[in-house]
Symmetry: C5
Subunit: 91 residues, 5 copies
């Protein structure tokens, strides 16, 4: 998973089957000093992440597993809102 | 998923089984200021995305799931055409 | 999928089970102006791609699906030989 | 898998189903001279890796397999704590 | 798959279930002129690759397939030792 910050939302009417009723948020990867880096990811959110919040994003089939056997073609999911962290990172 | 812009089409006659009758579009990843960045992706399109449109692309097995049990070796799919978005991105 | 150009072949005698009788080609990712970029990929080819030809490469489990239930540990496959394309790419 | 060093922990209360009771560590990829490089990864740990320890991280569905059929949306797992290594790397 | 060179071994005692009795080698990606590039990968080896040998590495679930239904959380496997290759690469 990677650490990101919610920076927006995106809406789509014309879409694939299985994409109905999904909240899609735009997540900017950040490091532990909140410095932004890397391309944004569009991730599904079911846990109510809000604008500016720090989140944990999971990718690929492991992320899609939250939809069980439903045919939802989602490759990134917000799996946690970050409460706190304790990280020692070189700069 | 990532945000992209449809910039073209590609055609192939000699191809693997399961690749028949697929519309393959060329998608350029862009950021939320429409700045292009990163390598283009060839993605299957079943929702009628047109040249110049902004789209959401899903990758890997989660994307392939739209073909259910058919043996379609596709690793990228356009899953939505973007209507609108609201994003605050640093530059 | 990504666009590539076949630039060579590679042979291996000592190999994992499931790797027998596979033609392995070396594919250089290129952009739509044929400019090379990024690391080469070793991909299985069953459709007769030749040296110098432009091809479409699929990756991961979606690519491996062409081997059905056989235990073939291949993570990249040439799924199409490019006939033509129509792409507008900034430089 | 890649080599990394545990540099911290992250906590989340509001999270997806299947994320309960998981210890999430922050892993910094390093090379064999312990030079840091690349974006940190948030990985699940079930083997008791400690702060500063060198670990082996596996990603994607192969990593998720340790949770068997449980619906755990984890895409990175610490699969080993490094005892020793013998590597000749150019600089 | 990618081309690499075996540059070392790594050992771990404290590890996840399914990691027992695996030989883990360190593989440095190289290009076809043997120039090193990119982060090293820790890959399982069952075919007896030796230090300094050129190998083909497969990744993800397609690589893991060699372990069949065993719960082995391995995301990279050496699937072939390179005998020879014929590649024309620009520099």
């Amino acid at each position: 998973m990677f650490l990101g910050k919610v920076i927006g939302s995106v809406w789509s009417t014309q879409k694939e089957e299985g994409m109905e009723n999904l909240k899609l948020l735009v997540v900017q990867p950040i490091d532990w000093n909140e410095k932004e880096g890397g391309r944004t990811v569009i991730a599904a959110d079911r846990i109510g992440a809000g604008f500016g919040e720090k989140v944990i994003v999971s990718s690929g089939t492991p992320a899609r597993i939250i939809f069980h056997n439903k045919m939802v073609p989602i490759d990134a999911v917000i799996v946690g809102i970050v409460d706190s962290y304790e990280v020692t990172q070189e700069t």
